[in-house]
Amino acid sequence: MSTVLSVRNLRLYFSTRKGVVKAVDNASFDLRKGETLAIVGESGCGKSSLARALIRLLPRNVHTYSGEILLDGVNVMRLGEEMFRRSVRWRKISMVFQGAQNSLNPVLKVGFQVAEPLMMHFGMPKEEALTEAKRYLRLVGIHESFAERYPFELSGGMKQRAVIAMALITKPEIVILDEPTSALDVITQANIMNLLKRLQSEMGLSYIFITHDIALTSELADRVAVMYAGEIVEISDAEEFYRKPKHPYAEKLMASVPTLRTDKKLEFIPGTPPSLINPPPGCRFAPRCPYAFERCLKESPPPYEYKPGGFVRCWLYHEGKR
């Protein structure tokens, strides 16, 4: 399987009145063609910022934006704004945003909005674009008559599907899904997951699936990256991860997720995540980690490759304690 996206040392810091927020601090990972990489973490861990860093939708107060993003071997970080917009954003990588149902323009018809990326990026004439849009609406399970409707006439699930159609219509290689099913009910969520699975196998898409819901990630993830306080603390493949996560945070997180089908004792993690403005020296999870020892509080652990393609940022592994 070829690597379609390679991220190295990605950093995204913001300037705020209170200081510099290190939202994404030295993230590195690979995405292979046709596979899904899930990025899982709790609120404030930086996963949404990571998504925005990848697609370069940045606010005004960026302090640092550095690293390498290799797309089919080309480092797109070096591209200027205009080149990025024309050749990468929505061409190679597109995105389904959190609360996507609210990102539809209420005064434009659904069909038009789904067709817009074609008109903007390929200069396609309106008629042709609309026909293509209707095809994609069908593909995501919406009847094409809805192309003439306005967003308020669609239910939550349908709006989500429309947004997915909008993200796919330019035939990107990679789709970033940022909490694509939040605010949808469980059955609709399952339907959308089914749709995403089908589209992935039919269109050979690679997904970056960002969510806080660990159980949900297992619906799509071939590999899982865990984020904590701006850092990626573990990357494991699905079989390893869901059965036995490596990083103490991932382990505790998994233990705190209630399951429907198995009886397990739930655990919780005491304490709160650190501030992204002044992260502590050493491992950021150390203050809350039950296995922490002296080195953890002083030095920040680099990624340790515990098996090919599996990484964990933890001194326990560097020192062979696990």
Binding site: S15, T16, R17, S43, G44, P59, R60, N61
Partner: protein
């Protein structure tokens, strides 16, 4: 991450101080408050009113329409201050001697008054205030003016008409004739220009050309005024107070009633601040209560209040005030009450109502209903404390509006007639045709103070608005 950006008072203040506009506003305000404190402390209220009425001779010693002393800086010349010479004083330049005339009950009183005149401009006025004591016959007075250089000008004798009599030297016809006659005979055949005044002839460097052209420069030097009075009767006496009125007086100049403007300007400060703040505070608080009650109870109550507000917002403010002032005795308190009443159903109600409507739906209000809090409790202890912070910037920003309103009313002559306020000063200035006459400072100074007040509150209000409304912030 939730967007809760309400911090405590300390943090808000700290944040506020990061805005330069706020610092500027606070600085100006501090200055104004200091001015107010000074005004109230140095001239108590009753004093101020009395002084401003200016009855009697309170301001007799002041020049009329004098420029402020700071004008000298711009004029580039030494502008004359008022010089006061009084025979009752002892000191350098004043002497008084009485020589009885043997064999009679008359005596010859000689008063010498010396002054040095080094200014570049002529004084505005010159008056001699005589104060005589006599039984039957008033004294006979002769005035001699000795210019620097020794030249003496004698004036014809005259008799005082009353124990307190005044020689208005600068406007007296007799004095002018005497001076013109003197110079006409000194410079034979000269045609003394009609433009020349007594003051110029007395204090000017006289030359033939100067007399004919009518333009004289000031003669600097030491002048001596000698008053020789023939007093009749034992125990008769004469004192004189000579006032050589300057062109400048005080930090703010004087008006046409000789009143020093700084009194009104000083006292106008606490009046403006107090009026503006009180009006704004009362209006905001009352509006807040009305809006909250309407929004909370909804239904008919809300509808009535909203319609009332809409009608109010259309009504013309000023004509009402004019009508009211035509019928009622106006003083500052009445104005305050009327202004507040005419403002309480204003536009602020709509915005506050919107705020309350959204807060009404907050979970903590619902929680309060669950544990049984009464409506009154919810309104006053849960809703109002929450809507107060967003109202503060509005409160501050509304102050200049009320300050201007009071000034405008005073300017139109509808204000409190006795209280020295900035608007009143403007009213006096306008009535006296100040700008036509070149008394620009009379209009400029109160205007600047008004603007300064407006700036201070506006800067502060805008900065506060940015602090309290996170959406307006810059990252």
């Amino acid at each position: 991450m939730s967007s809760r950006v309400e911090y405590g008072l300390k943090a808000t203040l700290k944040e506020l101080l990061t805005y330069k506009s706020a610092i500027l506003g606070i600085a100006i305000l501090t200055f104004l408050v200091a001015l107010s404190v000074y005004a109230v402390v140095s001239i108590p209220y009753d004093e101020a009113i009395k002084l401003w009425r200016g009855t009697g001779d309170v301001w007799r010693d002041n020049p009329r329409n004098a420029l402020p002393e700071w004008w000298e800086w711009f004029a580039g010349r030494r502008l004359p201050r008022t010089i006061i010479l009084d025979s009752r004083e002892t000191g350098f330049g004043v002497s008084k001697a009485a020589t009885p005339i043997v064999g009679t009950d008359m005596k010859l009183l000689t008063i010498n008054l010396l002054f040095e005149y080094n200014y570049d401009d002529f004084p505005s006025e010159l008056n001699f205030f005589f104060n005589a004591r006599y039984e039957k016959d008033p004294p006979l007075v002769k005035l001699v003016v000795q210019k620097p250089g020794g030249e003496e000008i004698e004036f014809p004798r005259f008799s005082l008409k009353a124990p307190n009599d005044t020689l208005y030297y600068s406007i007296s016809r007799d004095v002018l004739n005497a001076l013109v006659g003197y110079y006409a005979s000194k410079y034979k055949g000269v045609n003394v220009s009609e433009k020349l005044s007594s003051i110029e002839l007395t204090l000017g460097r006289v030359s033939r050309e100067g007399l004919e052209e009518g333009a004289l420069e000031v003669e600097k030097g030491i002048y001596r005024l000698r008053i020789e009075a023939l007093c009749f009767g034992e125990g008769s006496d004469l004192d004189v107070r000579v006032i050589i009125y300057g062109l400048v007086h005080g930090p703010a100049g004087t008006d046409n009633l000789r009143r020093p403007l700084e009194i009104a300007l000083l006292w106008g400060t606490p009046v403006a601040l107090a009026f503006g703040l009180t009006a704004s505070l009362l209006t905001t608080v009352i509006q807040m209560i009305i809006a909250t009650i309407g929004a909370w109870y909804g239904g008919v109550v809300d509808d009535v209040i909203q319609r009332l507000t809409e009608v109010y917002m259309i009504l013309p403010f000023l004509p009402f005030l004019i009508m009211i002032s035509a019928f009622y005795k106006i003083d500052i308190w009445v104005i305050l009450v009327v202004v507040v009443i005419l403002s309480i159903f204003g536009g602020g109600i709509k915005t506050t109502r919107a705020l309350v409507l959204s807060i009404k739906e907050y979970p903590y209000i619902e929680a309060a209903k669950v544990y049984g809090a009464s409506n009154a409790r919810i309104i006053f202890l849960y809703i109002i404390p929450k809507i107060l912070p967003p109202l503060v910037p509005g409160l501050i920003s509304a102050v200049p509006g009320f300050v201007f309103l009071e000034a405008a009313l005073s300017f139109l002559g509808l204000g409190d007639p006795f209280l020295p306020t900035w608007g009143k000063v403007l009213n006096d200035a306008f009535n006296a045709g100040a700008l036509y006459r070149g008394y620009f400072y009379w209009v400029l100074q109160p205007s600047i103070l008004l603007m300064l007040t407006a700036f201070a509150f506006a800067f502060l209000g805008f900065a506060l608005d940015r602090v309290v409304n996170p959406r307006l912030r810059e990252m």
